[in-house]
């Protein structure tokens, strides 16, 4: 069914009781051409583009709980492509372009709101670094604007720009086309789009084992029985290592906790996404008026889906130092996600050493904005059995070959990326 003003009017007449379900909940078939493990944004987007771009519709997405209940459901939804290294810049820019047309493509309002992503500069070194990154972005065809102090002050009036500010602000780097989107809507939109093209989305179906015959994967053992597969792709984020381990593979991934906090809703006060790399804090205001804040990972391996207090205190302290008016707000919610942190801070979308087994992981802090691009590239990699040029650098063997893509230059210490 196409959502439109007419379908809305028609359903208003019946008091909105007759809307069809947006996707089915079928029982799994015994065999699929492609099985995707993990029903987060990435898994669902992969299934959608497999069907839409490659005509592969005999596909199942297996999700152990409900779709979108993993990291996709708890992040701060920032969408941007302000990367320095070319491989990342091109990939994330492709993803951003998909975001720009996503609501129309999916016939589902994903509430993408390009209100600008502003990185603050607190030191002269920050300013120089931003000039370098901004120029690199422009060379890659990405929008970037260097703002001076008065421009930052007029764009974000609530920032502490006083001479005694705890973190003095000298300027900033703005990506005007960046912004935020609604996480649930992205999940539901991709689920509905994939389902309407024939993809089976299977809830409450945990993959517990992977059946192999030599170098080939035959299918997956699940809580709903064995499901045969021509090809298997992992999009299990936090549990990438656990699922790859079922096939006997080790990944260059560690799982780390990252928390987001949400305040009580207030009137519009912040019409940009504001981030500071120096104090590791990132703030935006949701459409409902809540301030949404996050910071760095908790700092040690974790699968716990809840954050720790020292990091919470540090991140809130940084937010209040940047925006003194926040000190009056109460936090309503805390959400803890488990990040698939890669060894160089960049993603992996690649074929593994097994013939028909593919992996999509290593999304660190930045996987929400990647959702469309990741699904698009992963679908291409699975369908064609080779990467698209946009994800050709995101291989597993780049670590062996010494071709790490390390924006931060932190080396194989995932908790520092």
């Amino acid at each position: 069914m196409k959502y439109s003003i007419f379908s809305l009017a028609r359903n208003a007449v019946s008091f909105h009781r007759d809307w069809p379900l947006a996707w089915r909940s079928p029982a799994p078939k015994s065999h699929y051409d492609v099985v995707i493990i993990g029903g987060g944004g990435h898994g669902l987007a992969t299934a959608y583009y497999l069907a839409k771009e490659h005509g592969i519709t005999n596909v199942a997405v297996l999700e152990k709980h409900r779709i979108g209940g993993g990291n996709t459901g708890c992040d701060t939804t920032i969408v941007r492509s302000n990367y320095y290294l070319t491989a990342n810049a091109r990939f994330y820019e492709h993803s951003l372009r998909l975001w720009e047309g996503l609501s129309q493509d999916l016939d589902f309002n994903v509430m993408f709101r390009p209100r600008g992503v502003l990185n603050l500069a607190h030191t002269h070194a920050d300013l120089e670094n931003q000039a370098r990154r901004g120029n690199a972005m422009r060379l890659n065809g990405i929008d970037a604007l260097a703002l001076n102090r008065p421009e930052v002050a007029s764009m974000v009036p609530d920032l502490d720009m006083s001479p005694t500010a705890r973190h003095p602000i000298l300027g900033g780097l703005l990506q005007p086309r960046g912004g935020t989107a609604r996480h649930d809507a992205v999940v539901w939109g991709y689920a509905r789009g994939a389902d309407s093209r024939g993809v089976d989305i299977i809830h409450d179906c945990e993959v517990t084992g992977i059946r192999r015959d030599g170098n080939r994967v035959l299918g997956v053992e699940t809580t709903q029985g064995f499901i045969g597969a021509g090809k298997v792709g992992i999009a299990a984020a936090s549990h990438s290592s656990v699922v790859a381990g079922m096939a006997g593979l080790r990944l260059p991934i560690e799982s780390h906790g990252l928390q987001a906090m949400v305040s009580e809703p207030v009137k519009p006060m912040l019409d940009a996404v504001v981030t500071s790399d120096a104090v590791f804090c990132c703030v935006s205001q949701s459409d409902k008026g809540e301030l949404v804040i996050d910071g760095n990972v908790d700092g040690y391996n974790s699968y716990a889906q809840r954050g720790n207090l020292p990091v919470l205190e540090r991140v809130v302290g940084a937010a209040v130092a940047l925006f003194p008016s926040f000190s009056r707000l109460r936090l309503l919610r805390l959400r803890g996600g488990v990040m698939d942190m890669s060894m160089d801070g960049s993603p992996i979308i690649a074929k593994t050493a097994l013939d028909n087994f593919y992996v999509n992981c290593g999304w660190c802090y930045g996987g929400f904005k990647a959702t469309p691009g990741s699904g698009w590239c992963f679908a291409h990699t699975i369908a064609q059995d080779r990467p698209h040029e946009l994800n050709a650098a995101f291989t597993l063997d780049r670590y062996t070959l010494g071709r790490a893509i390390d924006e931060r230059g932190a080396g194989p210490t995932p908790w520092l990326h």
């Binding site: 080790r250 260059p252 560690e254 391996n301 699968y303 716990a304 720790n308 207090l309 020292p310 194989p412």
Partner: protein, 90 residues
């Protein structure tokens, strides 16, 4: 909040410590003799278990010694901790 037992100083709050990563991957004795694959397996690949995990911590705001800690990554329970090198006697 973690309470980590420093073998030298006793139970201390996690904010006194810095994390040093997986302790289950001993540094190869002769790195130059390794193939690229073996070096990569040591440098980058991890078991990353959902459960008990051996890890390195430094008591950076205390005695500054590196210690080993066994901790559960699902419950955050600190199971045990040990000294990596014998304490120097005065």
């Amino acid at each position: 909040m973690l309470l980590i037992q420093c073998p030298f100083c006793g139970p201390r709050d996690q904010v006194e410590f810095s994390y040093g990563g997986d302790a289950g991957v001993p540094r190869p004795a002769d790195p130059a003799a390794l193939s690229d694959d073996k070096w990569n397996a040591w440098l980058n690949e991890r078991d990353n278990p959902a459960g008990e995990h051996d890890e390195l911590w430094q008591h950076s705001m205390g005695c500054r010694r590196w210690i080993g800690v066994r901790r559960n990554t699902l419950s955050h329970e600190v199971v045990s901790s040990w000294a990596l090198q014998p304490a120097k006697t005065a």
